[in-house]
Amino acid sequence: MAVATKKKAAPVSEAVVKFVLNGERYELSVQSNWTLRDVLHGKLGFTGAKEFCDRGACGACTTIVNGRPVLSCMTLAIECDGKTIESVEGIAKANHPLIEAYVMNHCMQCGYCTPGFVVTAKALLDKNPKPTEEDVKEALAGNLCRCGTYPRHIVAVLEASKKL
């Protein structure tokens, strides 16, 4: 057993970034290796951006950046300076019809991937408020759900689109 001496970690290059997240302004110092997910989840407490595959394979950490759904685990925080970001928490706060449609259509089982689906679906509806079933399938095909809730997402997104 060895207990290390208490020293400060060596400095890593940092930069100050400013962005608008869920309508609020943020200004913070980020290290160059931090991902957007690290910042949202670990630093700002927006835990809806989940760590699932951790390598751009599952869509569970999807976040809308300047109108596009991006994988926040594959996006460096330092790149987000000046951007407008929307997370699932912002979508919920705005009471988007997707939320109620998701709840009532049982789109979640374990629920770990659900926020990523909601964000991906929101990005779709922002661009295409009246999607077809095929549009929804195409948009959500990159989100993994181990519980297999897939069929209900299609129903929920189409239902929400009618309420927009």
């Binding site: 207990v3 290390a4 394979a57 998701y102 009532m104 089982q109 770990y112 991937c113 926020p115 297999g148």
Partner: protein
Amino acid sequence: MAIEITKEYEKIETEGKFVVEAHIPEITFNAIGKRGIRRLDGYEKATGAAKYTRDVQLIDMLCAKILDSPYPHARIKKMDTSKAETLPGVRAIVRYDDLEVKGVLLTGSYFGRSRDPAIAGGAGIKPICPLLGDEAWYEGQPLGVVVAADDEDIAKEALRLIDIEWEELPFVLDQEEALKPGAPILRPNAENNILPSSATIKRGDVEKGFKEADKIIEFKARRNAHLWAGAEPTSVVAAWRGEVLQIWVHQQRPYHARMKLAEFLNIPQNKITMYSLYQGGSFGERCNPGAYSENGINILATMLAKKTGKPVKLLYDRRENFWGESGDIMVSYFKVGAKKDGTITAVQMKNVFAVDMCTNGVDHFIENTKIPNLLVEDLVVDVNKGPAWWCRCEQLPNTLCFTLVFDHVAAELGLDPTEVALKNDGCEGHGLEHLSEYKRKHGYPDRDSLKECIEAGKKAIDWEEKWHKPGTKRLPNGRMHGIAFTWTHEWDDVRGTGSAAVLIESDGSVSVIAQQSDVGVNPWTAYCQIVADELGIRYEDVNIKPFDLDHGFALMSPDGSCCLVSNGIVVRKAAAKAKRMLLEKAAKTFRVKPEELDMKEGIIFVKADPTKKRLLKNIVERTLPSFDSCFEFTEPPIIAWAWHTQGIWGDAMETDRPRLCRQAHFMEVEVDTETGQIEVTRVVNVNDVGKAISPESVEGQQYGGTYMGVGRALAEEIVWDPRTGVRLNADLLNYKYATLLDCGPIDPIYLETGMGHGPYGTVGVAEDAATVIPALLGPAVYSAIGKWIDEYPITPDKVLKALGKI
């Protein structure tokens, strides 16, 4: 003052024992069975507000990482941690040769080290392994050293800075290779690689059965390794608050985890506060209290938290989460005897499992057929792969063997497989008349569950129109069409023990008090539906907050393949008892006898004169667990608790619990004979669930499990490099499971015959489709191309090989 002893313990024990009888509802269903009930966890999960263990962050929290073996079989000869120790931000390092861990083994049973596995009903820890050892039996095995640091990056960097001299040892990956002379022997002092869990099970006389048969069918099958790959990677957070340990675990069975941890580190159970937040997937991975990832890591995190005086989060990354595989890595040899009409006279199997077997392959022939002669030889063989374990679910070997035997028999005899199923339905060698007698004796409805399931499924998929001879139907798009059927019984009603309390709050709302680990099957909604209907209040007025084991009560998560079927009885009993207490109290206000009262939608009324009524909240408004002054109008709280134990291990007929509900599954595929690509275009699942408490949740398990099953059948496979023994696809880019586009429409159909052993006649549904569907792809592909591919997953290369194209 004399205190009267009321024999309360005996009462609770007697009430809690499972009694064989039909569970005929005595209440009016209002919330139960209703569609459109708002699920309790829905809003939290949809909005990202739901917290999982991975999300837990505490002030000043450290991160801990354990070293993983880079070799499939190797020993640490020397380790130098000096560079890591001086890395800024490293707060503690524990090595395999430190006194506190040296020679310490994870042993015992699920229930703790001192409780013998035999007492635990065979629930012994497998595999027994060191807490922090110096020898690896598989690539990726945690061993050697654990580091706690200010963050994850520093912890990983510290591990990279550790110099290790390894002694590489010979390894073997394939279970049949491991049986050959000259194969490396993996365990010390062993003569061969055959593990003690190998077993032979015999019923009747297979040789006699083969003589009676018109046809003998022999074939070989293989299932390659796959695993849970749940959504949330493993983590545990431990923090000491004075003498009390607070620990957040990602586990289906936190109560076992607490018992084990308490014994291991000699902490009284009442000084451990254990939280089990939402569980990001589990599928059995998180219900093995013997597994290192649930047991070893809890101990190490707790030790590190003590040592550093700070909260410690020990976490696995995605690759580390590929630590094991399903207990159905198997090569199987079949010999089956059948008569021309489809009556199966004998089934003989030899199954060679790698690492471990989760079930024996023969159970379903015993539990739901009348086949009189059965013989299975199960060999469990050690290889250099991670621990094998239940994987939604442990019945995978049974459903694979069952489906393949029935579909091979039907194909060889040229019979409709649904007819072969009906011909052999039964229980433990007995025919349906035997089950009918049982049902009559115990008050169950006498319905032919399999026949009803098959009829419903055939209609939905248009079987009569679509079923054809194998390899004969080319579609206009050029692909070959296949259609297949399989069946089995519903096994999810087996066993389990749980406890819960129902508290009527002083505003008339109701709390269900118990810990329960959510794994996504929407159990809490179902408990609240049951409590609402049993009490006679609105569903919206019931809630459960089950994250904290300090409640003292704990309901089962689906850890014995049984969740609602056992827990539903617990909450039903607790609610019924609370209602009796409530009506006894209300009787004083109404000045009538309690039995003259009832409650509906939260209004208590005199049955004979419903105009005499009061709101529930007016009756209970003075029932206060606590009040900071003493007035004569304070009244005791209305709270009742119940305990229930559901069934015991053993053969169904011995324990008087034959499975009465059946399920039928149908699949259509299209096979591209040029590319070998298989498309699953349609699946119809028919489950006799006895009684559906939450219809949407039942359907969710039917289509959800289908996606998991289809992924397993088509693609899921862990691949090891044969030269190095290293996993090549321990990540979610290269380990492929089903996406939204990988399955056509799925029909979730359920029947409600009331023949389950659970509350109101329910049986389970959540393990079924994921477990049965994988095997069904083989018969479906056979139907399409006329060739059997009995090696799973059935990938395009195997299709092309079967067609002689490569």
